[in-house]
C-alpha cells in the first residue's frame, strides 16, 4: 500500500512521490501505557485513547507505546482554549513486525502544545507513524521528534495552520544506521493569515542507510502574511548511502514568504583535521558529530528523564 504521499508529485523515476509497503491490516488495537497528570481527562474513543487538556500543564502526559506486529495505537490530543499542554510519546517495540501509531492533535484558540515523540523500535520492528493536527487562531504547536534506532520508520506529519497567527515549529533529529530506513513526509498547510511554520531537520546517515525526507509547505490562497521555512541538514558518514530530500513549497498567495534549504554532505575536512590533531580518532569524531545533532534537538524537550534516556542509549 502507498503511504507518505506528497501533495504535489514529481518524476516517478526518482521514487519519492510516496513510500510503498506491504498491505497490512492493523487489526490489533493497542493502548499506550500512560501517566496522566491531574487536570487531563483520559477517555476511550473508538479503538484509541483521547486526552483532553482542560487546564494548562507543565507536567508531561507520558505515553509509552511498545508496538507489536500489526498493532494499532490511536491517540487523540485536545487542548482547549488558552490551555497549554506537554505530551511525550515514547515508541518502542515489544516484538518484531510492523506497528501503526496514529496521533492527532487539535488546538483551540490561544492554546499551545509541546509534542515530543521518540521512536526507537529496534532492529526487528517497523513503525508506521502518522500525526495529524489542526491549529486554531493564535495557537502554537511545537513538535519535537527524535528517530534513532528503527529497522524501518515511516513517519508522517500533516498539520493545518487553520487560524490567523497560528504557529508551528518542528525540530527533528535522526540517526539512520546501516541497513535501516527512515521515510518522512511532512505537510504543513497554511490557511490562516500571518500563520508561521519553521521546520528544522538535522540528521545523520551511516553507510548503507536509506532516508527520504519530503517536506511540503503549502501556502493556501488567503493566508496573507504567512511565512513558512524548512531546512534540512544531513551529515553523511561512511562511503555510500541513499539520501533523498524533497523540500517543496506550494504557493497560491502573493503576500507570503516561503523558504527552504538543504545541505547534504560529509564532515568538513578542516574540522576533522583539527579534531584529529587533538588526539580524537575518526570513529570518535563521527560519533561526537552525530550525537551533537541529536543533542540539539533533545535539548528542546525540557524533560530530563527523557533526554537522559535518549543520550544514554546513544552512548551505548
Amino acid at each position: 500500500m502507498k503511504i507518505n504521499q506528497m501533495p504535489a508529485i514529481t518524476w516517478g523515476r526518482l521514487d519519492v512521490n510516496e513510500a510503498v509497503i506491504d498491505d497490512i491490516e492493523f487489526a490489533n488495537p493497542l493502548h499506550p501505557a500512560e501517566t496522566v497528570p491531574a487536570g487531563v481527562d483520559a477517555d476511550d474513543f473508538e479503538e484509541g485513547r483521547k486526552y483532553t487538556f482542560h487546564t494548562s500543564q507543565e507536567v508531561p502526559l507520558r505515553l509509552d507505546i511498545a508496538t507489536e506486529d500489526r498493532s494499532s495505537t490511536k491517540i487523540d490530543i485536545v487542548v482547549e482554549e488558552g490551555m497549554s499542554a506537554f505530551v511525550i510519546e515514547n515508541i518502542s517495540s515489544a516484538e518484531a513486525g510492523t506497528g501503526l501509531i496514529e496521533t492527532s492533535y487539535s488546538l483551540a484558540a490561544n492554546a499551545s502544545l509541546k509534542f515530543v515523540q521518540i521512536v526507537r523500535t529496534g532492529e526487528d520492528a517497523k513503525a508506521v507513524n502518522r500525526i495529524k493536527g489542526n491549529v486554531a487562531e493564535d495557537a502554537d504547536v511545537s513538535v519535537i521528534q527524535i528517530f534513532t534506532d528503527s529497522k524501518a520508520n515511516y513517519t508522517e506529519l500533516k498539520s493545518d495552520l487553520d487560524g490567523n497567527r497560528s504557529h508551528l515549529t518542528a525540530d527533528i533529529g535522526y540517526i539512520v544506521k546501516t541497513d535501516d530506513l527512515l521515510d518522512m513526509n511532512y505537510v504543513i498547510t497554511h490557511k490562516g493569515k500571518l500563520s508561521e511554520s519553521l521546520l528544522t531537520i538535522d540528521g545523520v546517515l551511516y553507510d548503507g542507510a536509506s532516508k527520504t525526507f519530503r517536506g511540503t509547505i503549502d501556502l493556501k490562497h488567503g493566508c496573507a502574511g504567512a511565512k513558512g521555512t524548512e531546512n534540512e541538514n544531513v551529515l553523511l558518514i561512511g562511503d555510500s548511502m541513499t539520501n533523498k530530500t524533497v523540500p517543496v513549497i506550494l504557493c497560491d498567495e502573493e503576500d507570503v514568504e516561503g523558504n527552504h534549504g538543504a545541505t547534504i554532505g560529509k564532515l568538513d575536512e578542516d574540522l576533522v583535521f583539527y579534531l584529529e590533531s587533538r588526539g580524537i580518532d575518526r570513529d570518535s569524531i563521527d560519533r561526537i558529530m552525530a550525537d551533537a545533532r541529536i543533542r540539539r534537538v533533545a535539548s528542546l524537550i525540557g524533560d530530563e528523564e527523557t533526554v537522559k534516556t535518549i543520550l544514554d542509549e546513544e552512548q551505548e
Partner: protein, 468 residues
C-alpha cells in the same frame, strides 16, 4: 493589503502575425503508421531512420502518459498535423526565400542578427528549414552547421546514426517517442577538436500553421577542447486551437570542451511546449544552459546535464515568466556521475496575471561522484494575488563524499522598493517592471547584448497592465 487593478495583456504584435498556409504541403492530422511512413518518404529518410520512426511510433502507442505537471487535456493528438512543409526548399541566401517567409524572419530580426552578430543561422518554418548558412571563415575551420536531413545523406551520416536519439531514447517518455516518430527539421553542428567558434550560431524556429506540431531535432557534437555558443529562438502566432512543440536537443560535449546553449522561448499562448533537452559531458568538459521561457500555454522543459567525466561541469541559469493562461513547468535535471564534477543551478520565476509557475528539478549524485559539488538556488516572485508559484526540487544522493546545497525562496515585490522608485519619479508600473527586470538579471547578463535587450523588452511588455 493593497487593492489590485487589472488591465488586459497588450497585443504581442511583434510575434503575433501570421500568413496563410494554403500552399504548404501537409499530412493529415493524427498519428498513424501511414502518416509516419508518409513523413519518412517525403523526407527521403535512409532505411534505418524509417524503421526508427516506426519503432518510435510503436513505443508511443505502448507507453503510458506519466507526466508530473500541468494538464495537457487540451492537447488532442488526433487534431495535430505533425508535418507541414512550406512551399520552398532550403536556401543559403535570404533573397531566395519566399517573400512571406522572409518577411516573417525579417520582422523577427533574424537576418539582421546574422549580419551583425552571428556566425551562422538556421531558420525553420513549420516543419522544414528554409534557410541555413554559415560564415565562410567558420566553415573553413571545419565547423559543420547544417540541417539534419542533409547530414543524414552526407559524410556525417554515420555520426548522425551513432548519436541520434541516443541521449534521449524514444523510451524516455511519451513525447520523446512521438518526436522519434515524426521529427523534422532542426540542426546538426559538429565542432572539430580544438576549434573555438567565437561568434554564436543561431537556429530560429517559427511555427506558422494552425493546429500543427513542430518536432525539430538539434544534434550538436563539440569535440575535445572545442567551444561553441549556440542560440535557439522560437515563436508562433496565436491561434484558438492547440499547437504542439515536441523538439529534442542532444548535446555531446567532448573532453575539455564547452557548449553554451542559450534559449529565448516565446511560443504563443496556445502552444503546448513539451520539449526535451539533454547534454552529456565528458572529462573536464562544461555545459552552460541559459534559458528564458516566456511563451506557451503549457510548458514542460527541464534541460538535463549528465556529467560523465571527471571534473565535468554544468551551469543552468534560467528565468520563467508565467502570465495569463500560462502554466509553465520548468527547471532542470543534473546527474553527477563522475568524480569531482560540479553543478550550479540558478533560476528565477515570475508569476503574474493568473499565471502558474512550477520550478521542478532533480540533482542525482551517484556513487561514482566522489568529491563532487552541487548547488541550487531558486527564487520565485509573485506579482499579484491570482497567480501561483510552486517549487518541487528533489535531491538523490548516493555518495558520502560530496557537498550538496539547495536554497529556494518565494516572495512578493516589496512595497518599500516600489515606493522608493516612485519617489524617484517612476510610475508604479515602471517601478514594478524595473524590479522584475532586475530580478531576472541572472539570465539577461548571461545573454549576448541584443538578446538581453529582447528579453528585457519581453518582461517590460508582460508587465504592462500590472498595477499594484
Amino acid at each position: 493589503m493593497k487593492e489590485k487593478t487589472h488591465i488586459d495583456d497588450i497585443n504581442r504584435s511583434i510575434y503575433d502575425f501570421r500568413f496563410s498556409d494554403e500552399n504548404a504541403y501537409k499530412v493529415n492530422s493524427g498519428l498513424t503508421p501511414d502518416i509516419v511512413k508518409q513523413i519518412s518518404e517525403e523526407k527521403g529518410d535512409p532505411e534505418w531512420m524509417r524503421e526508427f520512426r516506426l519503432k518510435s511510433l510503436e513505443i508511443f502507442n505502448r507507453i503510458p502518459m506519466t507526466l508530473a505537471g500541468p494538464s495537457i487535456e487540451g492537447l488532442n493528438m488526433d487534431n495535430i498535423v505533425t508535418y507541414v512543409r512550406p512551399n520552398t526548399k532550403m536556401h543559403a541566401d535570404w533573397d531566395e526565400v519566399p517573400e512571406e517567409i522572409k518577411e516573417t524572419f525579417e520582422r523577427l530580426g533574424i537576418p539582421q542578427a546574422e549580419r551583425e552578430s552571428l556566425a551562422g543561422v538556421g531558420a525553420q518554418y513549420d516543419s522544414e528549414l528554409v534557410y541555413h548558412n554559415i560564415r565562410e571563415d567558420v566553415a573553413a575551420q571545419g565547423v559543420i552547421y547544417t540541417d539534419i536531413e542533409s547530414a543524414l545523406h552526407g559524410p556525417y551520416a554515420e555520426m548522425i546514426k551513432e548519436h541520434f536519439m541516443k541521449l534521449i531514447p524514444p523510451t524516455d517518455h511519451k513525447f520523446a517517442a512521438l518526436h522519434g516518430a515524426v521529427w523534422s527539421g532542426g540542426s546538426f553542428v559538429y565542432v572539430p577538436k580544438g576549434v573555438s567558434v567565437e561568434i554564436p550560431l543561431q537556429s530560429y524556429f517559427r511555427l506558422n500553421a494552425p493546429g500543427a506540431g513542430q518536432f525539430e531535432h538539434t544534434l550538436i557534437i563539440v569535440d575535445e577542447g572545442a567551444y561553441l555558443h549556440f542560440i535557439e529562438g522560437c515563436s508562433a502566432p496565436k491561434y484558438n486551437i492547440a499547437n504542439l512543440h515536441a523538439g529534442a536537443v542532444e548535446l555531446f560535449v567532448g573532453k575539455n570542451a564547452k557548449i553554451r546553449y542559450s534559449t529565448i522561448e516565446n511560443w504563443s499562448k496556445n502552444m503546448y511546449n513539451l520539449n526535451t533537452k539533454r547534454a552529456i559531458v565528458e572529462e573536464g568538459g562544461s555545459i552552460e544552459w541559459v534559458s528564458g521561457s516566456f511563451g506557451s500555454h503549457v510548458s514542460y522543459l527541464y534541460p538535463m546535464s549528465i556529467l560523465n567525466g571527471r571534473g565535468a561541469k554544468s551551469e543552468f541559469t534560467g528565468v520563467t515568466f508565467a502570465g495569463k493562461d500560462q502554466d509553465l513547468d520548468t527547471g532542470c535535471k543534473v546527474v553527477l556521475n563522475a568524480p569531482e564534477t560540479t553543478s550550479y543551478v540558478n533560476t528565477r520565476s515570475i508569476s503574474k496575471d493568473g499565471g502558474i509557475n512550477t520550478f521542478r528539478s532533480s540533482v542525482v549524485v551517484t556513487e561514482k561522484a566522489k568529491g563532487s559539488k552541487s548547488a541550487v538556488s531558486c527564487q520565485s516572485l509573485m506579482v499579484d494575488n491570482i497567480s501561483r508559484s510552486d517549487t518541487i526540487p528533489a535531491m538523490d544522493i548516493r555518495c558520502a563524499d560530496c557537498d550538496v546545497g539547495h536554497e529556494a525562496t518565494i516572495g512578493r515585490i516589496s512595497d518599500d522598493t516600489v515606493f522608493y522608485l516612485m519617489s524617484r519619479g517612476l510610475s508604479e508600473e515602471e517601478a514594478r517592471a524595473l524590479i522584475v527586470s532586475g530580478f531576472a538579471d541572472n539570465v539577461s547578463k548571461e545573454l549576448p547584448l541584443e538578446y538581453a535587450v529582447e528579453m528585457n523588452n519581453l518582461i517590460r511588455l508582460e508587465m504592462v497592465g500590472v498595477i499594484g
